[in-house]
Subunit: 561 residues, 2 copies
C-alpha cells in the first residue's frame, strides 16, 4: 500500500512578523526534509499569522507576504510544503501554496469563509471556487483544504474525497474554547470515516490578542481513528508515515508535485502522546499560554498585579507565575481603611506560595487627600459609589505608575461574572493591559483555583482565600452578595443571557426568577460601556465579551421604562 | 403624466427601542396618510434602528421586530408604507416590507451586503436574490432597494430600472463621513439619469455609538436633478408629488399595491431647502448630533469636561454646549504646579463665552501625596513620563468622581492626531464616556474653532487659545512639538498611514522623511492598546479609529528590530 511521509508542523506565529514566521517555517521544513518527508503541512495563514485583521487592507503588507512565501518556496527541495498565505488576485484569498523544488506549484483557495463569532473573513477575502485540484505528492492524491472547509459535511474537504483524494490535508487556525478539542476531533473523525480517507489536520498554536490557539494537530486514519497527535499549547513538528489506500480514478483536476515517495525505511508507529486533558486543565493551559504570548509578543519585561487577598487576584497571580516565571511577576498590596487584616495576610500567603515579590502601598493618604479635594465641588466628601470607585481608581493609578516606571504590564483581575454585571470600577480595578480571567465566570474561578492546588499538590491558593465570602472591601463589611445574587445563581443566568443569547422574556419563560432576570439583564446591558473600555483577555468560552460579542452600547432593547 | 405622492420619512431611531421606533413611524405615516400620500418611504431597518449589531443574534429580538412590523402594517390604510425590518426566513435578511390596507403585501431583500469599513452585514444577513419584484403603487411601478443596492452601477436598483420600474425607492442607513453627502448625491444623480427614472432616497438620521447618520434624504427626477431634499441632521417628513413617466412593458414580476393615485389637487413644487454646507460646517454638525444623541440616548443628565484652556477642550466644550445647551455642560479646571497662568484664565474665558459653569479643583494635594506614596516602591518620587501620567490620571479620577456623584458623562478631549500617536494618558485624559473629537486631526481642530467663531460672530474660542503653542503642561515649559513634529507635518503623514493604509516603506517612497516615517508609524502601532481602551466617539472621516480600523494590538509588522 502507498505510504506517504508527512510532517505536521504546528507553529506559533506572531501576527505581522513575516520574517520570524518564515524563519520558523524554514526550520520546520528543514526538519521535515531531513526526516525524509514527502509532505510538510503548515497552518492557515502561516506566513502572516492568524488573524492579521486590517493589516490585510495594506497592499504593501500583502505584497510583503507574497515575498515571504517566495522565500519559503525557494527553500523547498524534495519535501513539498503546504503553507497558508494571502493570495492577491482580483480579490484577496485565504489560500494554501503547494511548494516543491524551489517554487510554488499550486494554490488552493479557502471556499467557506467564516464571518461569525470571532471571525471576519468576508471582510477581507473572496471565496475560492470549490473544491480545488488534487495534488499528486509521492504518488498519492492529496486534497488540500483550509479550516472551515473541513467543518461542513458537504464542504470542499468532502468534495475532494469524493473527487478521488487519497489523503486530506487541512490547514487550520482554530481558536480554543472550552471543549473545542473534543468537538474538533469528533468532526475530523467523522469526515475521515465518511471519506474513507486519512486526514492530516494542522492547527496553529499560540495567543493573539483575545484568541488563543491550542494546536492539538492530529492525523486520522481512513477509519476515522486518531493515529497520532501533537500536544496542545506547544510548537512541535511530528513526522509520520501515513498509509494512503489507492482509490479508483479521480474526477478532480490533478497537479503533479512528486510521482514517488522518497526512499526510506518505514517508521514505526508514532509513540502514544497527549491524553486530552480535563475541562479545568485545558482552560488553565489556555489562560497560561494566552497570557504568556500577549506579554511576550508585546515586549513586556514583567507583569504587575494588585493582590487583594481575594480569589480572583490570587488566580491571576498563579496563572501569570506559570506563564512568565516567578521572577517576572510582581504583586502589590494596596490596603485601605476598609481592608480586613486577612486581606494583607492572604495576599502575602499567595505571594509566598508562588514565590513572587510583594510590595505594599497603603492608599489611605491618597484616599483622604482626594476626598478633601473633592469635597468643595461635591458639596461634601465623596460617599457611596463615588467613594468606592475613588479607592479603586487610586489603586489603578498606583499600578499604572509602577507600569510606567518599571515597564511592567498591569494584569487585571476581573472575572466574567463581574464584567457581565459591571461589578467593577472603570479605570480602577479594570485598568491594565491584559485581563487574564475576563472570560472566566466566578464559579469557574473557584474550580480553577482548586484545580491548581490539586495539580501542584499544595495550597498555592490558600484555603482561607477560597472559603471567605467574596468582597470588594470598598466599604465596611461589604460583601459581593450585598449587590449581586450568589454566584451559583448568577452564573447560569449570565450564561443563558450572554452566551445563549436568550432575551429577558425568554429567561423568565425558562424558569428564572423574573425580578432577578430584570435586575441582571439590566446590569449586563448597562455595563456595555465599561466592557468596551476594558483590556483584552483570553477567550475560553463559546462567547466571550470583546471580539466575540458585539452589542451596541447605545441599546434600548428591553429597556425598563 | 402619472404622478405619485410620496412622503420621505427621515427618522432618528434608537437601536433596539422597537416601541419608540414604531411610535415615530406611525406618527410619520399618519402625516403621510393625512397629506394624501400614495407611498411613504422609511429608512433601512427603521424598525430596529441601524446597526443593531449582535442583538440580531437573539432570536427573541428578531421576533419582537416582526411583531413591531405587524403593528406598523396594521396601521396602514390607503398610503403604502415601505419600512426596513429584519426578515426571518431560513436565514435573516435585511429587508423592506411593503404594507398597505393593514397588512404586509410584499417583502424585498437587500442583495448587496456591505462587509467592509464600519459594516458587518454578512455577519448577520444572507443576501436576497436580485432584484426583487416591482410594486404597483398608485398605478406606478416602484422598485424598492436597500442602501448598498443603489451604490453599484450594475446592482439591483439599476436592474429594477431595466426591468420596468417607473419610480425607484431606496431605503438607507448611510453614515456620515466628510464629503459624503456630495458623493451620495453624485451617485444617486447618475443612477436616476442612467435609469431615466425618478428616485426617492430616504436616509436615517441620528447618532448611534461611533456612527452618525446625516439624513439628507432627497428626491431626484428622471434626469438626475435633485427636485427636493430634506435637511441634514434633523428628523423630518417631506411630501412631494413625483412625476413618474410611464415606461414600456415591464419584465420583472409585479405586485399590485394600489391601482390608482389618491384623488387630490397637485401640490406645488417643494420649497427650495437646505444648501449643502461647507466642509467645516458639516463636520461641526456631525459632531454636535453625534454627541447629543450619545448623551441623550444613553440617559445622561449632563456632561462634564476638563477645561485646560487649550484648543481641544475648548472645541469639545463648544460642541457639547451646542448639543446639550449651556445648562447641561459643566467645565472643570484642574491646574497643577506646571500649569501656566494663561490656562486658568483661558479656561474661564471659554466657559464665560459659552455660558457654562466652571469649577476648579487644583490637583497639587493629590500630586504631592501620591508622589510621596509611590516614592518607597519606585525608589524615589515619580519622574518623567511616570510623573506626567500621574497628573493626568489624577485629573481622570476627579472627573470620574464628579461623574459618579452627579450623573454626568465625562466627555474626553483627545483629537485624532493624539490618539494616533498615543500622545495621551490611558485612564488620564483619555478617561470618559464619549470622545467627541477622536476622529478630528489637530489641524482640523483649529479650523473648526475658527469656523465656530465665524458662524457665532464672536470669539467663542478666544484668539489667545488659538494662538498659543499646544502643550500638555505636564512638566515645566512643555510643548507638544518637543515630542511630536508640527501638526502641519504630522497630520498628512498620519492620513497617509492610517486612512490610506500606506506602509512605512511606501511612505518613504511617497517622499516623507524616512526618520519621521519610522518614528511616527512606530508611535501609531504602539498606541493601539491605548486606543482599544478609549471611549467611542463620532466618526467623521473615511477611516476612524474604533469600529472602522481593526488592526491587531499584537502586531509585529514593520517591527523595528
Amino acid at each position: 500500500m502507498a505510504a506517504i511521509r508527512v510532517a505536521a508542523c504546528q507553529l506559533n506565529p506572531a501576527v505581522g512578523d513575516l520574517e520570524a514566521n518564515v524563519r520558523a517555517i524554514l526550520a520546520a521544513l528543514a526538519r521535515a526534509e531531513e526526516a525524509g518527508c514527502d509532505l510538510a503541512v503548515f497552518g492557515e495563514l502561516a506566513i502572516t499569522g492568524y488573524p492579521p485583521e486590517d493589516l490585510l487592507l495594506k497592499g504593501g503588507f500583502v505584497a510583503d507576504n507574497l515575498a515571504a512565501l517566495e522565500q519559503v518556496a525557494s527553500a523547498t527541495r524534495h519535501c513539498a510544503a503546504v503553507v497558508g498565505f494571502v493570495e492577491a488576485a482580483q480579490h484577496l484569498h485565504n489560500a494554501a501554496a503547494i511548494c516543491v523544488g524551489g517554487s510554488v506549484v499550486g494554490v488552493t483557495r479557502k471556499v467557506l469563509l467564516p464571518n461569525y463569532s470571532v471571525f471576519d473573513e468576508q471582510r477581507y477575502f473572496a471565496p475560492g471556487a470549490a473544491p480545488g485540484p488534487l495534488y499528486i505528492v509521492a504518488g498519492v492524491r492529496v486534497g488540500v483544504s483550509i479550516c472551515e472547509d473541513a467543518w461542513s459535511p458537504t464542504g470542499p474537504l468532502m468534495a475532494q474525497a469524493a473527487g478521488g483524494a487519497e489523503l486530506l490535508a487541512n490547514l487550520s487556525a482554530s481558536p480554543f474554547a472550552a471543549g473545542r478539542l473534543a468537538t474538533r476531533e469528533q468532526m475530523l473523525s467523522s469526515r475521515a470515516a465518511a471519506a474513507s480517507c486519512p486526514l492530516a489536520y494542522v492547527n496553529q498554536v499560540g495567543g493573539q490578542d483575545e484568541l488563543v490557539f491550542d494546536g492539538g494537530s492530529m492525523i486520522l486514519d481512513a477509519a476515522g481513528g486518531v493515529m497520532a497527535r501533537l500536544d496542545q499549547w506547544v510548537e512541535d513538528v511530528m513526522v509520520i508515515d501515513v498509509e494512503a489506500p489507492p482509490r479508483p480514478g479521480a474526477t478532480l483536476p490533478q497537479v503533479v508535485v512528486s510521482e514517488h515517495p522518497r526512499a526510506h525505511a518505514r517508521l514505526g508507529p508514532p509513540p502514544p502522546r497527549h491524553v486530552p486533558p480535563g475541562p479545568e486543565e485545558e482552560i488553565y493551559q489556555a489562560l497560561v499560554l494566552g497570557t504568556r504570548d500577549y506579554v511576550r509578543k508585546n515586549g513586556f519585561t514583567g507583569a504587575v498585579i494588585g493582590l487583594s487577598g481575594g480569589v480572583d487576584s490570587s488566580l491571576v497571580a498563579a496563572i501569570a507565575t506559570e506563564a512568565l516565571g516567578p521572577d517576572y511577576v510582581h504583586g502589590v498590596a494596596m490596603p485601605s481603611r476598609y481592608s480586613s487584616e486577612g486581606s494583607l495576610t492572604d495576599a502575602a500567603a499567595v505571594a509566598g506560595s508562588l514565590g513572587i515579590e510583594l510590595r505594599t502601598v497603603p492608599i489611605e493618604p491618597a484616599h483622604s487627600t482626594m476626598s478633601a479635594m473633592l469635597a468643595p465641588v461635591l458639596g461634601g466628601p465623596p460617599i457611596g459609589l463615588t467613594e468606592e470607585n475613588l479607592q479603586s481608581r487610586i489603586r489603578g493609578v498606583i499600578l499604572m505608575a509602577l507600569s510606567n516606571a518599571l515597564g511592567w504590564i498591569v494584569l487585571t483581575t476581573g472575572n466574567k461574572s463581574e464584567l457581565a454585571t459591571g461589578y467593577s470600577t472603570l479605570y480602577g480595578d479594570s485598568a491594565g493591559g491584559f485581563a487574564v480571567i475576563k472570560d472566566v465566570p466566578k464559579t469557574l474561578v473557584y474550580a480553577l483555583c482548586r484545580h491548581i492546588n490539586a495539580i501542584k499538590g499544595h495550597e498555592v491558593i490558600p484555603e482561607a482565600v477560597l472559603f471567605k465570602a467574596p468582597s470588594a472591601e470598598l466599604r465596611p463589611g461589604q460583601r459581593d452578595d450585598d449587590s449581586l445574587p450568589a454566584y451559583e445563581v448568577l452564573d447560569p443566568l449570565l450564561a443563558a443571557y450572554v452566551e445563549a443569547d436568550r432575551t429577558a422574556v425568554e429567561l423568565v419563560a425558562d424558569g428564572f426568577d423574573p425580578a432577578l432576570v430584570e435586575r441582571v439583564t439590566t446590569l449586563v446591558d448597562r455595563a456595555e460601556y465599561k466592557r468596551r473600555q476594558g483590556p483584552p483577555g483570553v477567550r475560553v468560552s463559546s462567547k466571550a465579551f470583546g471580539k466575540d460579542r458585539r452589542v451596541p452600547i447605545t441599546n434600548r432593547y428591553g429597556l425598563r421604562r
